[in-house]
């Protein structure tokens, strides 16, 4: 395995909301009353069932409570042993599943406030992602602007499977705000379950939902590129989080071929998809779906023809690797430095 270096940035860690009641202090009287009167239950997404093996590494699973709900555990499991300078918190609490834009906006605001008070204020290494109520673009933009005054928010967070493809023009005000405020858009694995979790319908199993995340990322990259998001917002960075990495090059070869064939349909796409990805899209390292041999890894990185695409992540507390083996075997020391330090800093301007 390649050697970790100190001072790295972990671009994908998941602090857990212990329970919906944990957000009550951050809701106003009306919403607090709604939650209690209507008996609303904890918002746990099917994307990550609490006891699923993938949801927490065995040695990162607490004796009680949700994996990732304790700051002390996160410090002990990743922040300290990986000698991180920063870790970016991407809360995966199931607020995206809510259909009401009002309720969703209240929950997102509470979640972001909770993150500040319970996490960012308690460890200077932590940075946050702004969770947004995508049922209303207007409210999403307002939440971005509200949170962005705190420079510890370094990113906006969206799920890879929502109501519409992410390139759709109706969502562009979100991207305008993000570009203006130096916030990359982080797109994380998971579904709002407002559409079937695969493009061929509902599978039977959790394992299908999880495996299918990679296909969801592929369709979103297509959408973002061909709708012209990066022609309109050239400074905007997007980070695919927990997306898998090994599918990137073959996917782009296909997209590139079709773009050459039918670019008359989307004439505003004025650069090749490969170039757009190299300048505007990044990917978190874990999970790294490839066999554990150096030769394959070297070929996979060579196919990308760029050492700037991948950002270090542990995906804590999800179970992607064991021990300290967050870096797949075969990475050169130069590439390790790029992945752990240089690429994250180049991607997140607010990381200082």
């Amino acid at each position: 395995m390649a050697s970790l270096i100190a001072g790295g940035v972990d671009c994908d860690v998941h602090p857990a909301v212990p329970h919906l009641t944990s957000l009550l202090p951050y809701l106003n009287d009306y919403w607090r009353d709604q939650v209690t009167t209507r008996g609303m239950v904890d918002l746990i997404s099917q994307s990550y069932p609490q006891n699923s093996p993938i949801t927490a590494r065995p040695d990162w699973r607490p004796e009680s409570g949700k994996p990732g709900e304790s700051l002390a555990d996160m410090q002990r499991h990743v922040l300290d042993p990986f000698q991180l300078s920063h870790a970016i918190c991407n809360p995966l609490y199931g607020v995206q599943m809510v259909f009401s834009e009002d309720l969703q906006a209240a929950f997102c605001r509470a979640l972001n406030e909770w993150l500040v008070k319970e996490w960012l204020d308690r460890d200077p290494r932590l940075r946050g992602s702004i969770v947004i109520p995508t049922q209303s673009v207007e409210k999403a933009v307002a939440e971005i602007e509200r949170c962005a005054t705190d420079r510890r928010f370094v990113q906006v967070l969206m799920l890879v499977m929502g109501d519409t493809p992410l390139g759709k023009r109706a969502l562009w005000p979100i991207y305008e705000a993000a570009e203006r405020l130096e916030l990359p858009i982080g797109i994380h694995a998971g579904s709002a379950y407002h559409n079937p979790p695969t493009a061929v319908g509902w599978g039977s199993y959790h394992i299908e939902d999880y495996a299918g995340q990679a296909q969801a990322f592929q369709t979103q990259l297509t959408s973002l590129i061909v709708e012209g998001v990066f022609a309109k917002y050239p400074q905007l960075k997007m980070v695919m989080l927990e997306s898998g990495v090994s599918w990137i090059s073959p996917f782009l070869w296909r997209l590139h071929k079709f773009w050459r064939g039918v670019r008359m349909e989307t004439p505003w796409v004025d650069r090749a998809p490969l170039e757009i990805v190299r300048s505007n899209i990044r990917f978190s390292l874990q999970p790294f779906d490839a066999p554990p041999d150096e030769a394959t890894l070297i070929r996979l990185f060579d196919h990308m023809q760029s050492d700037e695409l991948v950002l270090f992540s542990t995906d804590y507390p999800h179970w992607q690797f064991d021990g300290q083996e967050a870096l797949p075997a075969g990475l050169t020391p130069d590439l390790v430095r790029k992945i752990m330090i240089d690429n994250p800093h180049a991607t997140y301007p607010r990381l200082t």
Binding site: W202, Y205, E208, A211, G212, T219, S246, W247, R254
Partner: protein, 369 residues
Amino acid sequence: MNIQFRESSEAASPLAVKTAIADCDIHPARATRAELYPYLAKRWQHHLEVYGVHAYQGMMEGPPYPKAQPNASRRDAYPPEGGPQGSSLSFMQKQLLNPNNVQLGVLNPLNTGQGIRNHELSAALCSAINDWQIDKWTSKDKRLKASIVVGNEDGLSAAAEIRERAGDKNFVQVLLLSRNVEPLGQRRYWPIYQAAEEAGLPVGVHAFGFGGNPITPSGWPSYYIEEMVGHSQCQQSALASLVLEGVFERFPKLKMVMIEAGFGWAPSLAWRLDKVWQRLRSEVPHVKRPPSEYIREQVWWTTQPMEDPERREDLFDVIKWIGWDRLLFATDYPHWDYDEPSRVLPAGVSEDDREAFYLGNAKKLYGIS
């Protein structure tokens, strides 16, 4: 991809490969809607005239995402006698089969009886298409072989159609499309796999189709290019479903062909499935071996549309990971994104691999001597 290839007719194919090839994805078309009527009961002829096919999509005619070319086909492929591209045997012989020395051509009729909400009509149309393939194509040119088109949403009637055609040497595979009401591993489709396995026929899963699900897990996109690229994601999800529902475990002699959805994604998908299976196998105890093993043993891929890296040799890594013995050359004639046989493999491929890629793998899989 060749909208420029307008000169590629018999007279102008200096680049055509000299050696024989198999073309594992040819799309024969009907010259007119009524061309099928001799094979359909009066009731269904009437039904089509009055109600149409009532598909799992909204358009009465044509696709919801307008194609890049009329009928998604080459503009130089209109037969001189009229009719849409791919509707004339003599012109297909002149433009595709003869100049490219196609020794085996596998027919995959599209826009047939699949993806139709009325399952009785679906079965009737599929049966008609199968008769039509024999009469119009395979009985008139021995190089051509047909696919048994089956009513995909009704597994039992589909299995009956397969059993009726089993043993008929005009047919070399069963044809499904990737997009259905449910992922292809679901139980409603198992009778199809059982019948195909019994008949010793591979099941080809061609990209496209309509099953009512948005073509992304995040809803409907805007553009034709998204649908086109998205077919490879549909195919990946369909294959994942087949593996994870245990179809390959339950039907160990079943062979499946992934048609016109690319193949570059295959290694990454197999690696990912292996990795998540290690973690989550307690949920799917019927999947007894690493997913990549089933895929390596029971799945083939047609080549068109070949992924197109900036550095062509990068694709060789991917082919090596899949296996040179698993790819079946295809042109997709007469569609506009046709892959020209002489241009898909650059120099540097061994003679054995080249022969397997262009012909040997297909003859072996489809049992053609």
